[in-house]
């Protein structure tokens, strides 16, 4: 069951009605039941993985709570500063040991499931049995998402940055909350718990806003992403030597937009569904393609994944004993640049893990290392930026902003060729085609329409991209587009609403040979 299906809409409507009819203190039970139904029956997800993560997360939380209380009690009975310090260290070690075990177990599960799928065709070949069955039955959907979400809870509980949950079912709801279980965003426990436990009154405006966001997400997915996807798939499906570089360049730009429309479309739909239940999900995108640097791009793209890695990998490493030792040893070396050694190692770790989190192939690993290297270089060069700007007489302004945005696009463009290509060899051939067979005239010839998108489809595509750009510009100026529209004259408002719905119904890519149901990030 995907978001874009009749069965999901029916489930959503039933859940919505029950939610507001239920006694307010028990509304979260409705969310829990719907989440489990959606996961087990709707998605046919294998619940054992989720259950294992749920049980260990709950158990680890309780252990941390007990040890933290014990520590506080002992500290109160102790007056001497040195003894207090020793006690704190002892308890910290105890907690850390259990947390490491917990993380190893859950990451082990994640690695097992992610890599067992790779091994299944081999099993099939060796034994002759249909291993695809195992893949379908055993693959716990959303494991990449709920595992990281669960780890964030356990680390936050250990750091006393969130209260420990004593109700097992609430931990399960946190992990399996149906709008975000398969593709995020990565929720944090404290704000989610507060919202789950709140008493929610029905509000017509809020319901409308949720539905509007859901429809806008579906529009981005079906009208924009899936249409771009047809072209991208066709071009990338052809032997690189048969296609001019300019067509590959166009397909890669389309892929950049497709990935953004697809994933942010999903997030809009998830957030819209959640908003109707008065549960607000964290922001995951803030118009990344307006970024003036790669660092800014990654602060605006998949925000909750970025903050997860920053909080639990980057800061954990730099503030750890090893990180501090490195910082101390290098601090005064290389004209003061030595202080950047620990952050650079942290950055490389973050990007290596981000790469392997996204995919199992060498391309994804390289993709992560590529971003890590770029971030590290910019960190080292940052102090000299102002000097070079002055020397080259560069003034801040629209032109300089445009140049910086174009540079960001170019860096992302290069990276996206790597992950969209089927192999490293294909990626290499495509890079070579940019340099040796660009042939820009092809973009204006008939050839461009021979990859699944007709001349009229291109016109439609540019029109919907323009709508998306206008909405993004408004948001970039700090406008909430839904509020902005609600203050327009009724005729303008309804023309916009009906226009989007009609475009969605008439021009959305439904069914056929192209699988609209699957979102791109679902495979991560």
């Amino acid at each position: 069951m995907q978001f874009i299906s009749y069965s999901f809409v029916i489930l959503w409507m039933l859940a919505f009605a029950l939610y507001y009819l239920f006694p307010k203190k028990m509304q979260w039970y409705v969310l829990l039941t719907v989440s489990l139904l959606f996961y087990i029956i709707g998605l046919k997800g294998f619940p054992i993985g989720l259950l294992l993560t749920g049980v260990t997360t709950y158990g680890c939380g309780l252990y941390l709570k007990e040890k933290l209380e014990e520590e506080k009690e002992k500290l109160q009975q102790c007056a001497d500063k040195e003894t207090k310090k020793a006690l704190k260290t002892e308890f910290q070690k105890k907690r850390k040991r259990v947390q490491i075990l917990y993380i190893a177990f859950n990451l082990g599960l994640l690695v097992f499931y992610k890599y067992v799928v790779v091994a299944l065709p081999l099993v099939e070949r060796l034994t002759g049995t249909y291993a695809g069955f195992l893949e379908k039955v055993m693959m716990p959907l959303g494991i990449s998402f709920y595992t990281l979400t669960a780890i964030s809870y356990v680390v936050d509980a250990g750091r006393e940055n969130c209260a420990v949950e004593t109700n097992f079912l609430k931990v399960v709801l946190f992990l399996a909350y149906f709008p975000s279980v398969t593709q995020g965003p990565f929720n944090r426990f404290a704000p989610m718990k507060e919202q789950f436990e709140k008493e929610h009154e029905f509000q017509y405006d809020r319901m409308l806003r949720g539905i509007q966001r859901f429809i806008w997400g579906a529009f981005k997915k079906l009208v924009i992403a899936d249409r771009l996807g047809i072209f991208v798939d066709r071009v990338y499906g052809v032997e690189p030597s048969a296609v001019p570089g300019s067509i590959f360049a166009c397909a890669t730009v389309f892929y950049m937009l497709q990935l953004y429309a697809d994933f942010s479309g999903y997030i809009d739909m998830a957030a819209g569904v959640s908003e109707t239940f008065d549960i607000m999900l964290p922001d995951n995108f803030k118009r990344p393609y307006f970024s003036k640097s790669v660092a800014e791009f990654w602060r605006r793209w998949h925000i909750t994944l970025g903050t997860w890695f920053k909080d639990y990998v980057m800061f954990s490493f730099v503030m750890s004993g090893t990180g501090r030792k490195i910082s101390k040893a290098c601090k005064n070396k290389w004209n003061g640049m030595g202080k950047q050694v620990a952050p650079i190692i942290g950055t490389m770790l973050v990007w290596f893990f981000t790469g392997i989190w996204h995919g199992r192939t060498v391309s994804y690993m390289l993709w992560g290392v590529y971003y890590g290297v770029i971030m590290s270089i910019s960190l080292v060069l940052e102090p000299s930026y102002a000097v070079w700007k002055e020397k080259l007489h560069i003034r801040d302004g629209k032109i300089w902003t445009f140049v910086r945005m174009a540079r960001t696009w170019l860096i992302v463009f290069v990276a996206d060729v790597l992950i969209r290509s089927g192999s490293m060899a294909q990626a290499g051939a495509i890079y070579a085609s940019f340099l040796t067979r660009l042939d820009v005239r092809c973009l204006l010839s008939r050839e461009i329409t021979s990859y699944g998108i007709s001349k009229y489809e291109f016109v439609l595509l540019f029109a919907v991209l323009l709508i998306w750009l206008m909405v993004s510009v408004l948001e970039e100026r700090g406008e909430d587009v839904r509020t902005y529209l609600s203050h327009r004259p009724v005729i303008v408002r309804w023309v916009c609403y009906y226009g989007i719905v009609l475009l969605l119904l008439i021009t959305g890519i439904y069914g056929g040979s192209y699988d609209t149901a699957v979102f791109m990030y679902q495979s991560f």
Partner: protein, 76 residues
């Protein structure tokens, strides 16, 4: 102490001194590298250890929050 903290903060991020928004980290005024280098200098100056558990947006939302965090750790 307050003056010294502000001096260190200004060295790392001038914008942070006049910032009056909701969260410097979330608004991109200070990024993770700035936070790490700022922490390193604060630790050296005040002989404190800022654990990873304190590195949350709330403790770095503005200059007042940073001052409060350092004061708390010095007193501990």
């Amino acid at each position: 102490m307050e003056e010294k903290i502000l001096e260190i903060l200004e060295e790392h991020c001038e914008e942070a001194i006049d910032y009056d928004g909701e969260s410097m980290m979330e608004d991109g005024i200070i990024d993770s590298f700035t936070v790490i280098n700022l922490i390193s200098d604060l630790e050296d100056e005040f002989d404190i250890e800022i654990d990873a558990k304190y590195v949350v947006a709330e403790n770095f939302k503005n200059k007042e929050a940073i001052i409060a965090l350092v004061q708390k750790l010095v007193e501990e």
